[in-house]
């Protein structure tokens, strides 16, 4: 049988199970509802004229902030018809006051005039600063005329501003500007507009400035968000909890007894879990592709969907490993709750980080390496709303530094490079998770991962950690290296410590179910030690200045602590995996993990403290209290020893090979 019919054959029962009864119809109905919802939401956010919709668009960098636009266009925005009518009346009263040359006893008019102080400041400055002589004569003549107009208007406004609390003197303080930039085209246009309006800003009823491309992009982003939730939360949750149910109900054995291979059963389970959600998400994918193609291009949209699919599959493999492991010990409901508790917050935070990363802030990019959901959010956002789309603010004089820079090539390129690295890493981790799951489901003996597979997984994760931490400009920039902080010493240890949980999980995956009582420490211990040495060597080799200026005592203390943390966490996780303690033991283990965390932080603090060397190198806690130092020594010795004793081999061994 060729591959396609074989796949159809083994997938058929799982698709039947997922879509039996009215499930397919319900999925189609949900798809229609969600598609309509994404279109309505996109249209609402794109064309809504109220403050909330505008804030969302401002947050997505599709239009300038209110004050930026009001300053640039010399207007005052009103968000309802009533407010607009009212503001027009106030402006008319203010204009009448200016014409009369006296300020009325009308608080609303006074407030309006105060709010026009910025415009008056520019007029005042134009009156005081001469037009440069080296300009083109025609241009100079035009600007001189503008200056005369500004001077005349300022003279007219002067009594009003003298009467206001601000006082005329405040106009000369020039709070925002150092001088009239006659050579700045935007400022000149602004001045022309102020003169044209008689020194008082125009009242404008706010209307969404989004054009068809932005509207399409926002519809695509709404569909993208639903796709993101489906791929990052719903599919992994469904796959993980389905496996937890299968394991808990004991249905996995009958399934394997049907002649389907373990791989077929697991792939079928995933496809079955994903099929119904796939029906719901398919129209959303079409909407995303169509709108993103209109707003930006089809290529990025296809790339974003490919990213979504890769990360969804990998995340589902990890969730299935979790579901299988937890399903053997917990009720399915508890397992589902734990899966949701992990998936939902990480996905929602990742969505916002992904949006942030897509706004041309390069420092957010490397986060992607360790957090694949961010990569998906980043890709979806970039595809739906390409950088440069929208109506970004014309830089307000003096505020250029807070403007985002759409289309900046370097962060854009760095972002895509990060995306590629992330995808490679997540695909590798997903594949190895699936391999581990196949071995764990197919047999109860033997390690879940081979030594080479565990080594590859650890190398990938260490590379991601180094990439992520090493590229954060705030840490690595020379300005951060002061007499109090030295990132060169801190980053390598932090990168190593970030990999420790992964190292512990991999150590647990290396335990041979059959050899549990034959001495876990003897079989897996050397591999953990090798991983610690390799991890430390990797971070030191990739950080050339790691040991530079670091006193030997600090190096021994901080790196020794980091190594101890890695060994202890691995031993603790092995205890949990092989011989899980009961309530009291589990409580003690939890406290011990907290102590290990503190010692890890100490390792960082000792390295960071090196330039000052203000505290004790080996036992900083002793400065606070000798009792704390004694407790630390106890933890350093007792915790690993207790773990080793817990994992000690059985006395009798059978000769299985005989």
């Amino acid at each position: 049988m060729s591959n396609a019919p074989r796949a159809r054959s083994f997938l058929s029962p799982f698709l039947f199970r997922a879509l039996r009864g009215g499930r397919r119809a319900r999925a189609i109905l949900a798809a229609l509802v969600l598609s309509a919802l994404s279109v309505v939401t996109g249209l609402w956010i794109a064309q809504g004229d109220h403050a909330f919709e505008r804030e969302v668009r401002v947050g997505l960098d599709l239009e300038p902030r209110r004050w930026e636009r009001e300053q640039a266009e010399v207007i005052r925005l009103q968000f309802s018809d009533e407010a607009y009518e009212h503001a027009l009346r106030i402006r008319d009263r203010a204009m009448a006051a200016v014409d009369a040359g006296r300020i009325p006893d009308d608080s609303e008019v006074r407030t309006f005039l105060k709010s026009a102080f910025d415009e008056a400041s520019l007029l005042s400055m134009a009156a005081r600063v001469a037009v440069p002589a080296d300009l083109d004569p025609a241009r100079r003549e035009h600007l001189d005329g503008l200056r005369r107009e500004a001077t005349r208007l300022m003279a007219r406004l002067q009594p009003i501003y003298m009467d206001l609390d601000l006082g005329f003197g405040d106009l000369h303080r020039d709070p925002y500007f150092g001088g009239v930039p006659w050579t700045d085209e935007r400022e000149v246009r602004r001045l022309e507009r102020i003169v044209e309006l008689g020194g008082l800003p125009e009242i404008v009823r706010y209307r969404s400035p989004m054009g068809p491309a932005e509207t399409a992009g926002l519809i695509g982003l709404a569909a993208g968000f639903l796709l993101f939730v489906g791929g990052m939360v719903v599919v992994p949750f469904a796959a993980g909890s389905l496996l937890a149910h299968e394991v808990h109900a004991g249905t996995m054995a009958p399934l394997l007894g049907t002649g389907l291979s373990t791989v077929q059963v697991l792939v079928g389970s995933f496809v079955g879990a994903a099929a119904r959600i796939g029906i719901v998400l398919a129209p959303l994918g079409a909407i995303f592709l169509a709108t993103a193609a209109f707003a930006g291009g089809l290529g990025p949209a296809l790339g974003a969907l490919a990213t979504l699919c890769i990360v969804t599959v990998a995340l589902s493999a990890v969730a299935m490993v979790g579901g299988h492991a937890l399903g053997r010990r917990l009720m399915p409901l508890a397992t589902s709750g734990l899966l949701l508790a992990v998936l939902v917050p990480s996905a929602l935070v990742a969505w916002f980080v992904g949006l942030f990363a897509a706004m041309g802030l390069p420092e957010s990019g490397p986060v992607i390496g360790l957090w694949p959901q961010v990569a998906v959010a980043h890709a979806l956002r970039t595809a739906a709303l390409p950088l440069g789309l929208g109506v970004p603010a014309q830089a307000v004089v003096g505020f250029e530094d807070v403007q985002t820079v759409p289309g900046d090539a370097l962060p854009h390129l760095a972002g895509w490079l990060e995306l590629f690295v992330c995808l490679a890493a997540v695909a590798c981790v997903g594949f190895l998770s699936f391999r581990a799951l196949v071995r764990r489901v197919g047999t109860t003996t033997g390690p879940s991962l081979r030594r080479s597979e565990a080594a590859v997984a650890y190398a990938v994760l260490t590379s991601c950690a180094l990439l992520a931490l090493g590229w954060i400009p705030e840490i690595t920039s020379p300005g951060w290296i002061t007499s109090h902080h030295d990132a060169r010493h801190l980053v390598p240890i932090a990168a190593f410590l970030v990999t420790v949980p992964a190292m512990a999980m991999l150590a647990a995956a290396r335990v041979d179910g059959r050899a549990v009582r034959l001495g876990v420490v003897r079989t897996v211990g050397p591999e953990i030690a090798a991983a610690v040495v390799a991890g430390l060597a990797a971070v030191l080799l990739s950080s050339p200045g790691a040991l530079e200026d670091l006193p030997a005592a600090h190096a021994v203390s901080s790196y020794g602590r980091a190594a101890w943390v890695a060994l202890s966490v691995c031993l603790g996780v092995l205890v949990l995996a092989v011989r899980p303690p009961r309530f009291a033991g589990a409580t003690l283990l939890g406290l011990a993990f907290l102590a290990v965390l503190v010692i890890g932080i100490e390792a960082l603090a000792i390295a960071e403290d090196a330039p000052r060397a203000t505290s004790s190198v080996f036992f900083p806690a002793a400065e606070a209290s000798p009792m704390l130092a004694a407790a630390e020594i106890a933890v350093l010795v007792v915790f690993p020893l207790a773990c080793v004793l817990r994992l000690r081999p059985a006395k009798t061994r059978l000769d299985v090979a005989a």
Binding site: T251, P254, T258, V656
Partner: protein, 315 residues
């Protein structure tokens, strides 16, 4: 399909054998009963027979061939295995459940639906075919689990405690279905804690003790019977136990216990002769003026066999 176990051993932790040196065969058309005390390794043996577990040592051959990575799927498709628990999906109906497993076994559309309907009929599940499994009684769930094992007409049936939760009608039906499967050429391995359920059903019995197996051909186990005594309970309205004892002694039987149970006696007899000879005993008792209200065997044939062979030490 003939299954042969050759010196099969299994350990989960490398420190203790769960079963060891199992050596027996299951021929097509035969029903083998697997009995033993709790912890004797019955479920482990059944799971190994169903290829769900690999032996730590030794070989299991299916038609003379040990399973390999390539042949495992094909062998499993020829086995119907009922393990511990019900292994059901609460939100599926019996019809959906059987169709799902039918497709897993590789049955295509019409053949699958036909097999499902026949199996539902066989196991008296047609009336509940569209009721969610969660709403079924324990007995109905057990019927459904059994139905799944028979759905693809397997050549080997390995069933662990198949009568668990079944009502009397279900138990009778089960015996009939198992015998029909064996008569159809299937090799059947069945385990049960309730030995009476296996009485008259098994052609061979494998008694597991201390992880080792002792195989007894039930039809040829007269020597075992001869070496032991069967226990019978006699109910009579007489109040003279001496008269009963005298007649029993004449037939080489022993009165082991007499309990007064108005309006007569309940007498426990140890009977060493053939079961057929009991008719003579009853005739002599009546002739001696002992009205016989009832005579029944206290333990089943397999229970007595088990009593002789196994020591019931839980390991």
């Amino acid at each position: 399909m003939r299954i042969e176990l050759e010196d099969v051993c299994k350990t989960y932790d490398g420190c203790r054998w769960v079963v060891r040196d199992l050596r027996f065969a299951v021929d097509p058309g035969r029903i083998v009963g697997l009995i033993g005390p709790n912890g004797a390794g019955k479920s482990t043996t059944l799971r190994m027979l169903a290829t769900q577990l690999a032996p730590s040592r030794g070989t299991i051959r299916y038609d003379g061939v040990p399973p390999s990575e390539r042949t495992l799927g094909e062998i499993r498709r020829r086995i119907g295995f009922l393990g511990d628990g019900h292994a059901l999906y609460p939100d599926m109906t019996p019809r959906e459940y059987l169709e799902f497993f039918g497709r897993c076994f590789g049955l295509d559309g019409d053949a699958c639906r036909r097999a499902v309907e026949e199996t539902l009929e066989t196991f008296a599940l047609s009336g509940k075919a569209d009721t969610p499994t969660a709403a079924l009684s324990k007995g109905m769930r057990q019927r459904l689990s059994l139905a799944r094992c028979f759905l693809h007409a397997p050549e080997v049936l390995v069933v662990d405690e198949p009568a668990d939760g079944l009502d009397p009608r279900g138990r009778i039906d089960l015996r009939r279905i198992l015998r029909a499967a064996a008569d159809g050429g299937a090799s059947v391995v069945v385990s049960s804690h309730i030995l009476r359920e296996l009485d008259g059903l098994c052609d061979e019995v494998v008694i597991l003790r201390d992880g080792r197996a002792e195989v007894i051909d039930v039809a040829r186990s007269s020597s075992v019977h001869a070496a032991s005594a069967s226990r019978y309970r006699l109910r009579t309205t007489t109040v003279e136990p001496e008269r009963v004892a005298a007649v029993a002694q004449a037939h080489d039987a022993l009165v082991s216990e007499v309990i007064e149970a108005a309006p007569g006696l309940r007498v426990r007899l140890l009977w060493r002769r053939r079961e057929a000879d009991l008719a003579d005993l009853v005739a002599d008792l009546v002739a001696a003026g002992v009205p016989v209200c009832g005579l029944e065997r206290e333990a089943s044939e397999l229970e007595e066999l088990y009593d002789v062979v196994a020591d019931d030490r839980v390991r």
